[in-house]
């Protein structure tokens, strides 16, 4: 009898202990993060575009902090968004998404507000980048890279006709017809027409977008293709002479052929940012913050500049890398002030459907 009672008391006590410890350790939720958390007990899953990061970053981070890092790739914002918004735990702790998508995630309550005390390197963040329109105050996102969109072209094949306006792309001269591409991703598909007509890149006005649609349908007749990924290779091969391009990507073309140049059209363009966010469902939030902090280290972040030829809003990193590169790749020298004169992209809310419908109409006609 006594043995049974002992066993019962013992097991009840054990259960209580287990219960209490489970309560203590389960999900950080919105409770404060522990600055002294043992990072070697945490694991990190990071979702990012392929070839967008140093290959050894997982190994180096593990070496420094003991956290096991798994890097998974996504090809587009849209795909990773589908996974993150499907409900439940996607298994992803840190995601790299463009600014307007971070905004959409935050609006759905999926992001953890960043605890800057765990990201001391965020002091490297360029002041101008602290108030980006999709996340003023950088509350739930830190920008990884930023830039603008413009026209990337073969100066040797367009002598005397160098493009200066979006209209040069939308209604090119006869000899360039069929040798022009535009970006396929909706927001950037609309951008040239929106700016050419003097509208905002975030407009939700149906009348304005109808005019945008008409202009884009006219432009389609002159296009070789809509291309998000190989447009600069077409410049290299000569299949195209003029393409709509993000600034960083144009540099890949320039690296292969010095005649490839970039211009931000006179009507203005967008300001885009690829950001890092921490998911609320993450069970490894301290490690996630440490990862963001690690990226913002001047040496690590300058790797991005050196190898991906993008601008980063990190004062220390840019100071380190820019001088060597700006000669060959002038668009890297676009200053933060100049960037901020372009229009930041924000999420469109319900108007996303309008944009998708217009994109469908334009590409289907």
């Amino acid at each position: 009898m006594r043995m049974v009672r002992k066993a019962t008391v013992g097991s009840v006590a054990a259960l209580l202990l287990i219960g209490l410890s489970a309560c203590g350790g389960a999900g950080s939720g919105s409770s404060a993060l522990d600055p002294n958390a043992d990072l070697s007990q945490q694991k990190l899953t990071v979702s990012i575009w392929a070839a967008y990061y140093p290959e050894d970053i997982a190994a180096k981070f593990e070496e420094k902090f003991g956290t096991k890092v798994t890097i998974t790739n996504h090809a587009t914002n849209e795909e990773v968004m589908a996974k993150l918004t499907a409900g439940g735990d996607s298994g992803i702790d840190v995601a790299f998404v463009s600014g307007q998508f971070a905004q959409a995630l935050a609006a759905q309550g999926l992001l953890e507000n960043l605890d800057k005390s765990l990201i001391p390197n965020s002091s490297n963040l360029i002041k101008e980048a602290e108030q980006l329109s999709y996340d003023p105050g950088a509350k739930y996102s830190l920008p990884y890279a930023w830039g603008t969109t413009g026209i990337c072209y073969r100066s040797d094949l367009m002598k005397g006709d160098e493009p200066t306006s979006w209209n040069d792309l939308l209604t090119p001269k006869a000899k360039y017809k069929g040798k022009v591409t535009m970006l396929a991703t909706e927001r950037w598909l609309m951008l040239p027409a929106q700016k050419a007509l003097g509208y905002s890149a975030n407009t939700q006005d149906e009348a304005e977008m109808a005019k945008v649609k008409d202009l884009l349908i006219k432009a389609k007749a002159n296009l070789l293709a809509y291309d998000d990924t190989t447009f600069y290779e077409r410049l290299v091969s000569g299949e195209a002479v003029m393409v709509e391009s993000w600034d960083g990507w144009c540099n890949y073309g320039t690296a292969k052929n010095k005649n490839i140049k970039f211009v931000v059209p006179s009507e203005g363009s967008d300001l885009w940012a690829d950001t890092m966010v921490v998911l609320k469902t993450s069970k490894n939030k301290e490690a996630a913050h440490a990862f963001l902090n690690y990226i913002y280290d001047a040496d690590v972040h300058s790797w991005v500049v050196d190898n991906i030829l993008y601008k980063v809003p990190n004062t220390a990193a840019m100071a380190k890398s820019l001088p060597a590169l700006v000669g060959d790749f002038p668009n890297m020298g676009i200053s933060p002030n100049e960037l901020l004169q372009q229009e930041g992209l924000v999420d469109l809310g319900k108007a996303s459907s309008l944009y998708t419908r217009i994109a469908t109409e334009v590409t289907a006609k």
Binding site: T45, S47, W49, A50, A51, T70, T72, N73, H74, A75, E79, A82, K83, A86, G87, G88, D89, S90, G91, I92, T229, T230, E233, R234, V236, S237, E239, Y252, K256
Partner: protein
């Protein structure tokens, strides 16, 4: 071999030429000196070296193989049983349609539907959820092929066995299965092939840390198909061809026994 063919040689070799022309191109481009996907700039084998040193590709390959094998096994069992059931024990156009629907359901919608299901069941995504999802549409293909074969066979042998007192299961193993073996093997082969290269469903039902090869390739293709990727395709092709040649040899020997 060819003398009986006559004019049929044209479509036959035409088809082979058509099927293998792009393959020849991609093998050729895998030896490209620079990493340009569209322009040739000289011969080099460096990409094969880089490929074999790339951990994510090897992991993706391993995962893909695992998924394909297990999904095929599952699909063959489910699909064959279903086909026999539909052909011999329950004639119903409605059930047949249902059995084949996974093969024709748009993969994106199926992918999202499955993701929703797994999420609502709080089932952690990983290779197992991909296997389950792949087995679904692979089984439908197996059902279609085996069903088609059973269509052409008559059931008199099985009925005879039943009349003579054989059990249902016994009849299946002793009579039905041997007669549909080629169809089952064809179904298995098709199922394996389809699972190997399937991207959409795998992407949505997979966990983040166990990518399959199509997923790895799709995210690498951001910059166009580099020679490294072509090298990968070439290696997979060579491996498959080798497996086929070896299997061929073994089959020959078996036939002679």
């Amino acid at each position: 071999m060819g003398s009986k063919l006559g004019w049929l040689k044209l479509p036959l070799y035409g088809v082979l030429l058509f099927l293998y022309l792009p393959i020849a191109v991609l093998i050729f481009m895998s030896f490209n000196q620079s990493d340009a996907p569209f322009t040739w700039s000289g011969f080099s084998t460096r990409w094969y070296g880089e490929l074999l040193a790339s951990p994510e590709i090897l992991i993706g390959f391993k995962n893909t193989l695992l998924v394909a094998i297990v999904a095929t096994l599952l699909a063959v069992i489910l699909g064959t049983l279903l086909a026999v059931g539909l052909a011999r024990y329950q004639r119903s156009a409605a059930l047949e349609a249902i059995a084949l629907t996974p093969a024709i359901f748009p993969d994106l919608a199926l992918a999202i539907g499955l993701l929703t299901l797994f999420t609502n069941l709080n089932y952690a995504l990983g290779l197992d959820s991909v296997i389950i999802s792949h087995a679904l549409f692979c089984a439908a293909f197996v059902t279609a092929i085996v069903r088609g074969r059973l269509h052409q066979l008559d059931s008199s042998l099985e009925q005879a066995a039943a009349d003579l007192g054989d059990t249902t299961v016994g009849t299946f193993f002793r009579i039905t299965l041997p007669s549909i073996k080629p169809a089952v093997i064809a179904g298995a082969l098709l199922s394996f092939t389809l699972s190997l290269d399937e991207f959409v469903i795998a992407f949505f039902t997979n966990g983040p840390s166990t990518p399959t090869l199509p997923i790895v390739i799709y995210s690498m293709v951001r910059f166009g198909v580099s020679p490294e990727i072509n090298a990968l395709a070439t290696l997979v092709l060579l491996t498959s061809a080798l497996i086929i040649i070896i299997a061929q040899r073994n089959l020959k020997v078996k036939d002679q026994i």
